[in-house]
């Protein structure tokens, strides 16, 4: 427990809040890496996921590529990209690696969200004369939202933990303290920074959980809990269990 107390003392020490490498700066950088990567990944993955979910085509390919992306080691990818893209492009190298990390979960969330919708609902929409476009925007997208945001949540959790590696190439973030503390043998510093990463992850997750509640239409929210419970667990497991940091 002593170590934890030391870590907490490290977090609240006055020198954490001053200078060019204050906690706020590092926290801001970490948040920026996470938010921006997840945003880019969402912009890339959601249209593709919707296309797959709506047409039912290309699923095997997407699953295969996602599987490969999941096996791609972020640590190696970041270092490889820095060497290939050059040191002036370090941020781009890190963002690329984080986006690649985030895409599989979001993609799976997007198409699984569509696939979880009962066929009868879609057929009913078609029967009342909705066009394909209307079915997409007014039926599939709203109904698929809970699983999509679930996918985004797990992507954010992965990126927030992995973003510590950005400090290995000198980009800052909370990993800065971990990579500085490691050669100096400062366990309070490393543990303190890790606690902050965990807290940041929890805050981001809670914020997205709130979105999940707010942005999901009321009619869907009402049916959400039972439908999630009874949705094929296999599919749910895939979206919600993400790869660890």
């Amino acid at each position: 427990m002593n170590l934890f107390l030391d870590a907490l003392a490290w977090i609240v020490a006055p020198e954490r809040f001053e200078g060019s490498s204050s906690l706020f700066v590092r926290l801001g950088e970490h948040l920026y890496f996470t938010a921006f990567s997840v945003l880019i990944a969402t912009v890339i993955a959601v249209p593709i996921g919707y296309l797959i979910g709506h047409t039912g085509r290309g699923r095997e390919l997407a699953v295969g590529l996602s599987g490969a992306a999941r096996a791609l080691p972020s640590f190696g990818l970041i270092l490889l990209l820095v060497l290939v893209m050059g040191v002036t492009n370090k941020p781009a190298a890190a963002f690329t690696a984080f986006v690649v990390l985030a895409i599989p979960s979001i993609l799976a969330g997007a198409y699984a969200g569509f696939e979880a919708i009962e066929r009868r609902t879609i057929n009913a929409a078609r029967a009342v004369g909705m066009t394909e476009w209307q079915i997409l925007w007014r039926v599939e997208v709203p109904l698929g939202l809970p699983l999509l945001i679930g996918g985004i949540r797990s992507a954010a959790l992965q990126v927030v933990a992995t973003a510590t590696l950005a400090a290995y190439i000198g980009l800052g973030g909370l990993g800065y303290y971990i990579f500085r503390g490691l050669p100096l043998g400062r366990y309070d510093e490393m543990l303190g920074a890790s606690i902050l990463v965990a807290v940041l992850a929890i805050v981001i997750d809670a914020a997205l959980a709130l979105c999940q509640r707010l942005f999901v239409p009321r009619g869907v929210a009402a049916g959400r809990t039972p439908s999630l419970r009874t949705a094929p667990a296999r599919r749910r497991a895939m979206v919600e269990t993400s790869t660890a940091p």
Binding site: L3, V63, G67, A68, R70, A71, L72, P73, S74, F75, G76, L77, L79, L80, V82, L83, V84, L157, V160, A161, T162, T164, L165, Y168, G175, I178, L182, Y187, M190, L191, A193, S194, V197, A198, A201, I202, D205, R229, P232, A233, R234, R236, A237, M238, E240, T241, S242, T243, A244, P245
Partner: protein
């Protein structure tokens, strides 16, 4: 490609080491997660506590866990046990939830039928619940395995040799081929383990044809 051809034995040795370091946490994590997942499935209170702490564990950066474990458990900083324990914890964090979900998905009627024909709790768990939950557990395990193989590389930062050596060493010496071959081999190790899991799944669960495709 010169570097790769000149260092085939190094790449091979590190790949085997990597494979060995990956397998232990995957198996140990699964074995520990099954009873925990059952607890979460069976008791509402346990579910909240277990899944919340698993979620929390999940947010800790792997490097941090590698570094924090030695002072807490009093093991040597150089021991690969640090990496093994940390990655086992990550597998548990993923699999406890996966196992609980899998057990939830077992049809209540089937379970009641088993009780009706006189199965005891233990026998029912091992011969009815667990096999029926198997495909879902397997798909969770495949995700956990891929992540474990990738995270083993971070262990190089605390001196546990794996394919991660090719990343840090290649970065220092600015040899792109070295890092690239490391990335490729990590993916191959992950693929190998994934294929093995699918094959084991087919052997153990012949009734669930193509569990992998259905799962993903």
């Amino acid at each position: 490609m010169n570097w790769v051809l000149d260092n085939l034995d190094l790449i091979g040795r590190l790949s085997l080491e990597h494979l060995r370091l990956s397998i232990t946490p995957i198996l140990a994590g699964l074995l520990i997660a099954i009873p925990l997942g059952w607890l979460a499935h069976r008791y509402r209170l346990a579910r909240g506590a277990l899944l919340t702490s698993a979620g929390l564990l999940y947010t800790i950066p792997s490097l941090a866990l590698f570094v924090i474990i030695p002072p807490i458990l009093g093991i040597s900083y150089l021991s690969e046990l640090n990496v093994t324990i940390a990655l086992t914890l990550f597998v548990i964090a993923i699999m406890a939830r996966s196992v609980a979900d899998a057990l939830d998905s077992v049809d209540g009627n089937v379970r009641q039928s088993a009780v009706a024909v006189g199965y005891g709790a233990l026998r029912r768990f091992f011969t009815v619940d667990l096999p029926l939950a198997g495909p879902v557990i397997l798909s969770g395990l495949r995700v956990a395995a891929a992540s474990t193989v990738s995270l083993v590389t971070v262990g190089i930062l605390i001196g546990v040799e794996s394919l991660g050596y090719l990343f840090t060493n290649g970065y220092q010496r600015r040899i792109v081929e070295e890092i690239f071959s490391g990335v490729v081999m990590v993916m191959l190790v992950a693929l190998l383990i994934d294929l093995a899991l699918v094959a084991l799944g087919r052997l153990a669960m012949p009734w669930a044809r193509r569990p992998g495709r259905a799962a993903r």
